[in-house]
């Protein structure tokens, strides 16, 4: 791994992030990334965060039209409440703050604690839980569906609404609507290596793959012999389409897990488009890239979000962040 010592991976990365993205305010010590100039008068603040190792999520999505602040935790470990409280204070203009929380026990507990503390300090806090991963089938006997690729959609679309000056309940409403309209399914072709472990988090022999993985280097629901890109696309598209049953065009994210070459990812995107066509789902917009990652995991995920006119408008709205930028 390209690191100094495992303990310093996150602060080292934040130092680099601070040096490069001078249009953001990066508090390396306290681990908060804030859009320069925040709070913005009359604008709802959007705060997200989670374990590190999913970059560019979330720090790479701070900027105009997306997040106002991000709180990076240790690798694959949710941030601590102090970070979110500080971020909330930094971005609240009086219009309130939306916490965007991926549904993992750690994230939920820490954001809940933070929300209580922030409210004690007079900040109005709304929360949205992102839980789009259809690979978690049995939500009664699990911690519930995980938050994965849809986080990007929630952050982009709610961010655009906040940028338009929508009030907190509307921004939160859009965020929840986007989450409800989104589904994801992921596949790993290799495990990832965490700095703490110093090696792969699980054993995946060459020539096998894991179906239904999350973004924390955990194994999936099922191990199979290697499949072609087209077969993986069929399985993934079936999984999300069966679950969502969309009846309108969708936003599509074809996401690499971190170590997936763009050459392969675009080929996969072609197969996903084919599979969507076969399922008679029309695709309104497609984003391809390594956006919601799991360190150096090879693999991909497919996320769809059923869109209406409003969501399409919000998707096309200007965004200017380190990792996502258009229209401005």
């Amino acid at each position: 791994m390209l690191i100094n010592v495992p303990e310093n991976v996150v602060p080292d990365a934040l130092r680099g992030f601070a040096a490069v993205h001078t249009d953001l305010t990066v508090d390396v010590e306290r681990r908060v990334i804030v859009r320069r100039g925040a709070p913005y008068d009359g604008q709802v603040g959007l705060v997200s965060g989670g374990g590190s190792g999913h970059e560019p999520l979330h720090g790479g999505f701070v900027g105009r039209g997306m997040l106002t602040a991000a709180c990076p935790g240790e690798v694959f470990t949710s941030p601590v409440p102090d970070q979110m409280v500080r971020a909330a204070a930094a971005v609240d203009s009086g219009a309130g703050v939306l916490f965007i929380v991926k549904n993992y026990t750690g994230d939920v507990l820490n954001f809940d604690m933070a929300a209580e503390l922030a409210e004690d300090e007079g900040v109005q806090v709304a929360k949205v839980l992102v839980n789009d991963d259809v690979a978690v089938t049995d939500s009664l006997y699990t911690a519930g569906r995980r938050g994965t690729g849809a986080t990007l959609f929630v952050e982009k679309l709610a961010g655009a609404a906040a940028d338009e000056g929508a009030p907190l309940d509307r921004v939160a409403g859009i965020a929840r609507r986007v989450n409800e309209a989104s589904r994801s399914f992921g596949v790993a072709l290799s495990a990832c290596s965490t700095p703490a472990k110093g090696g792969p988090t699980f054993d995946l022999p060459e020539g096998e793959l894991e179906l239904g993985v999350g973004i924390h280097g955990e194994p999936g629901r099922e191990r199979r012999a290697m499949m072609t890109s087209g077969e993986i696309a069929d399985v993934s598209v079936d999984a999300v389409v069966d679950d969502l049953q969309p009846d309108a065009p969708v936003l599509l994210l074809v996401n690499g897990m971190g170590a997936t070459p763009l050459l392969e990812l675009y080929g996969f995107a072609a197969e996903v488009h084919r599979a969507m066509g076969a399922r008679k789902v029309s695709v309104a917009r497609t984003l391809v890239g390594n956006y919601v990652t799991s360190l150096d995991m090879a693999g991909a995920s497919v996320t769809i979000c059923q869109a209406d006119e409003e969501l399409l408008r919000l998707w096309d709205a200007p965004v200017s962040t380190p990792a996502l930028r258009w229209g401005c």
Binding site: V75, V80, T105, Y141, T194, G217
Partner: protein, 222 residues
């Protein structure tokens, strides 16, 4: 109700600070093992999480050592909440904060009072995390430990007997998580594939209690 009236108030801030010291060292040694346990059914960070939290707690409490056992537990809990993150940070943090608060500001407490404090802490943890017995979490070490603690007191034991019994029960509880199918936390995503692996959080809970038993034994033998 189970409290035995004539127990000595032999648990003071100094004892719990020695425990913190010992537990930090134990976690330091066991961190890799805990992370290994967290690999096949989690995200390979439990050891690093625990180490970070206890290092921070020890440093903070060395600088400003509280002078009641309740304050020690509250301070450790706060440090865990502020530095661990993940699921274990808020859970252990809540356990210790609630336990500490329940101990009040007495300069020393009896084993029965500690037991009541721990019960309050575990209740808080269960309320927060929503795990039941056999969900394959730290609760599977903590609830049996509480029961054993109580049973030892009921049988006329003192602090040493009680914490020793609690530690053994926690270890057994941790081992017994292996055949379970996880229903909470990250391991639950694996469904049946979580079977056959020992839960990292239950394992660290056992470490916390075996180290408490060691610390108490050393105190009474010295």
């Amino acid at each position: 109700m189970n409290a035995v009236p004539d127990l000595p108030a032999d648990i003071d801030a100094a004892l719990l600070l020695r425990w913190l010291d010992a537990v930090t060292s134990v976690i330091e040694q066991e961190a890799d093992h805990l992370t290994q346990l967290d690999s096949p059914i989690g995200d390979a960070d439990h050891g690093a999480n625990m180490r970070r939290g206890f290092r921070a707690a020890r440093t903070a409490l060395e600088q400003e050592p509280p002078d009641t056992p309740g304050a020690v537990l509250v301070a450790i809990g706060r440090q865990l909440i502020s530095t661990v993150g993940g699921a274990s940070g808020p859970l252990y943090g809540t356990l210790l904060r609630r336990a500490g608060k329940a101990l009040g500001d007495a300069p020393a407490v009896t084993a029965a009072e500690l037991r009541d404090g721990l019960r309050a802490g575990v209740d808080g943890l269960v309320q927060l995390g929503g795990a039941k017995l056999e969900d394959k979490t730290m609760v599977d070490a903590l609830l049996p430990a509480l029961d054993a603690f109580t049973a030892a007191l009921d049988a006329g034991g003192g602090t040493e007997q009680a914490v020793t019994a609690a530690a053994s029960a926690a270890e057994e509880g941790a081992t017994a998580t292996t055949p379970l199918r996880a229903r909470k936390g990250r391991a639950s995503y694996l469904g049946d594939r979580s079977i056959g692996h020992q839960d990292p959080g239950a394992t660290s809970s056992a470490l916390l209690l075996t180290t408490l038993a060691d610390t108490v034994r050393k105190a009474s033998s010295s």
